[in-house]
Symmetry: C2
Subunit: 473 residues, 2 copies
Amino acid sequence: MTKTELEFMRSATAQDSSLMPNACVASWIQERRASVGTAVNQIALDAMRGWSRHAATGNIVHDSGRFFAIEGISVKTDWGGVPYWEQPIINQAEIGYLGLLGKKFGGILHILVQAKIEPGNINVVQISPTLQATKSNYTRVHRGRSPLYLEYFNGERPVTLLLDQLQSEQGARFLRKRNRNMIVELAEDEAIEVHDDFIWMSIGQIKRFMREDNVINMDTRTVLSGISYGTYAAETLEGLFTLTPSTQRQRWMLNSALVATDSLNNFRSIISWITGLKSKYELAIERMPLNRIAGWSEVDGAIRRTDGKYFSVIGVNVTIENREVLSWDQPMIKPAQEGLIAFIVRPVNGSYHFLVQAKLEAGNFDIVELAPTVQCLTGNYRTGQNEYSVRYINEVLEAPPERILFDSMQSEEGGRFFQEQNRNMIVEVGDDFPLEAGENYCWMTLNQMLRFIEFNNYLNIAARSLIAAITFD
Amino acid sequence: MTKTELEFMRSATAQDSSLMPNACVASWIQERRASVGTAVNQIALDAMRGWSRHAATGNIVHDSGRFFAIEGISVKTDWGGVPYWEQPIINQAEIGYLGLLGKKFGGILHILVQAKIEPGNINVVQISPTLQATKSNYTRVHRGRSPLYLEYFNGERPVTLLLDQLQSEQGARFLRKRNRNMIVELAEDEAIEVHDDFIWMSIGQIKRFMREDNVINMDTRTVLSGISYGTYAAETLEGLFTLTPSTQRQRWMLNSALVATDSLNNFRSIISWITGLKSKYELAIERMPLNRIAGWSEVDGAIRRTDGKYFSVIGVNVTIENREVLSWDQPMIKPAQEGLIAFIVRPVNGSYHFLVQAKLEAGNFDIVELAPTVQCLTGNYRTGQNEYSVRYINEVLEAPPERILFDSMQSEEGGRFFQEQNRNMIVEVGDDFPLEAGENYCWMTLNQMLRFIEFNNYLNIAARSLIAAITFD
C-alpha cells in the first residue's frame, strides 16, 4: 500500500472527520438549487441557433466545427441476436478533462467539488468535479473565460498527481469517446481560493451522497471509481486499519477491495477470458449519413426510432439565470425509458466477488468492455407481466430488502443526456448461487476490477458508476 | 513470483539443459532450408490469380472477400511535422492466433517451434510459433486442412494456460491489426506427436538464436516478449535464483526485469505521461479509395510513392516445393530500405532503465504506443554524410563496440512483408547520459514495460521484438 492509497482509504472511510458535516452539505446543495433559475425547452433540431445540418448527410454540427456532432453509424457484429443495425451516435473525438482537486484537512483528503448546473440534469444542480471541461472549453472555442482551476491540471501549478487515466463513456451513445480522469493534490500549506459554488468534501462524504438519487454527477463518479486502495494479504489488513468494519458484509467488501489472493479466478485467466471474447467476436462500425439511417425518422423536429425504443435526438433551448443569464441551444439525447444497472455480489473465500459481464456496445473503443451483471433499459426486459428476458434480472429485481446493499437512481452526464437516469443496484446472493456463469460472465473481486481500471478502456461507465458507490464502513 | 513465472525464468536461462544442443538446432534449421525449393517472383498487381481490384476504389481484395485487403487511408494529426498524408494500408480486421505450445523436459519448459516457410522470409525458413493462423486459416476459408495443433489453443484439448493476450502489429502498415498471443503448457506425462518441421526449444535457446540474423520470426518474438518473470524486492532475488549472472551487466538486466522498486519513474507517473500524450494529440484516420491516394502512383504493376520512400505494394507469385508443391499469388509490402530499432539503456539504482519513446503511427489502435528509443527507416535519417535527423540516433550508431549489448537483423512477418528486415540494437550509455528526456520519452525498467505488455496495445511490435531478445545470463 502506497501513501496515496492509504490516504484514499482514510478519506473514503473517515466521514466524521469531514470539514463540513453531511447536513450542512445537504443544505448547501439545496441552497444552490434554489438560487438558480433554469429553463430547458425542447425545440426542433433545425431551429437551434449555432447548429446546422450538413447539406448532404444531415449530420448535426456546430457552426464552429467543434464541440460534438450527431452522426449516423452502421453496426455489424456477430455478438448477440441482432447482426446489423443503424443508429445516431454522438461523435466527440476530443478528450476532455474530468479533474478532482484534493487537499488534506486534518490529515483527511478532501475534494473541491462544484455544484454545477447542466441542462439535462434531474435536480438542475449536481455535485461535479473541480474541473469538467471539453477540449473546446479549455482551448476556448467559446471565446469565454478559461475554466476555473484548469491551471492545477494542465501543469501550470505544482500539485501531486494521484490519478491520471483515460476512461470511456457510454458505448451505446458515444463513438469511442473518452475523458481524462484526474485527481491531483495541493500541498496542505498552499492557499487556494474557493469560488462560489465550490466546497470541500471527503471521498466518504461523496460516497454517502451517492445513496441519494441524482446528487453526485456521472463525471464525479467515474473519477472516484479509478481510485485503488492497494493490495495486501488478508492478515496484513488488520494491522493497517484502525478502521473496523462493524458488519460481516463490510469486512467482505473491504477484503474484496484490498486482498491480493483468494480470488476465485486468477488475473491471467481473466485476461484470457477477455482476449478470447475480443478474438471471437467482430464489431464493424461504419460512419454513415444521419439522414439515411434505417429504422429512424425525423418527426416534429426530433430523430427517433420508428418503434419508439432506446432514445431520441432532440434540440433544446437552455436559459440559466444565476449571477448572470446564459442562453444557448444544443442537441441532446433523450432516453425512451429508465435503465437498470446492477452488480450481483457473492461472498467467496471471505471476499465479495462481483459477477462481471463482458458487453459489446457499438461505440466501444475495443469491442467489449466489462459491465455490471445487468445493464439494460427497463422497457426492454419486460416481456410480459413478471417476465423478463435479461439474464440475472430476476435475481436483482426480486432480491429481498435485506440483500440489497445499494439502491439509488443516478444520472447520466447532464451536458449531453436529457434527464436520463439509471437505477444503480448492488445485490448480494447466497452461497447457493451457482458459481458457474455463461461465456460472457466472470466472477472478480473489487481489487481485480480496480486493477483493470488502471489501464484504458476495460471497465465501462456503468460498472464504474457502481464501483464509485461502494463503501467500506 | 508465481510458479509459472519461475518456470519461464528457468527456461529462459537454463540453456545447457535444453533437449537439443544449439549446434543440432542450427544444423536442423540448415537442413530444413536445404530441403525446400521456393520461387517468389514479383508480378503485376492486376495479374494476381485469386485477387481483384474493386471497380470503384481500386482496393485490392481477395475473391473470397476474406484474408486481407490493401486499401487507402488519409491521416490527419497534430503529432510530428507532417499534418496530413495519404497512404496504402493493410486492412486485416480478423484476430489471428500466434500460439506457443510448451512442455517440460527435465523440469525445463520447452516450446514446440516450427521451421516455417513464408514467401517474404529472408532465409526462406524461420523459426515460427507452434500455431500461426489467421481466422481465415482456422475457419478454413482455404478449404484445406485444419492447422496443426489448433486443438491445444482453442479449448479442445486440456492444457495449462500460461499467456493469452492481444498485441498489435506494425502501426504504419496495418490498420489496427492485432493477434492473439498465447502460450499453453501440456502436462509432462501427456504424449504429443511432433510433426515434421517441428522441434522443442527452450526459451533461452530461442533467445540465443535471436543473436543471429533472421532466424527467429516476428511472430515467435512477439509472443516471447509477453512473458513476465515476476516482481520482487532486490534482496529477495538472491534467495530465489540459483542463477548467478556472471557480469555486472547481466545483474542489472536481471534486476530491471524483476525488481519492484528503485525505478526512476513510478508507474502512476508513467500512466499519466501516456494519458497526457493521448489527450493532447489527435489522430484522425479516414478510409479512402486506394486509387485516389495522393503522393502514390501505380507504375509497372506496383503501387509506390512518387518519391520512392517508405514502401511499395507489389504482387508476387509464390511456388514452394517441399513434400508437395504449393503455388499462389498475393500482394505484399516491399520496404524501400532497411530500418533501425534500438533501445538505449542506462543503469540507474542498480537496474537498467530503458529510454522508451511514445510513438504515433497511423494504424495504431490507440493513438500512441510505446516504442524503442529509435525506430526509423534508414533512408530517412541520413540528412547528409554522418548527419542524422532522428533523435538519439547518433548515440546508437556511434556506440563503441563494448557498449553494444545486442545487435542483429530481424525480419518482419514473412506472410505480408517482402524481405523486410530491421537492425535490432540495445546500446548501453553511461552515468553521464542525461536522464532528462523530451516530451515523448520516458525511462522505464523492463519490469515496468512488462507490466504494460500484460494489457492490450501499449508496447508496439518493434519494442516487443527487442524485449524478446533480452537475456539474463
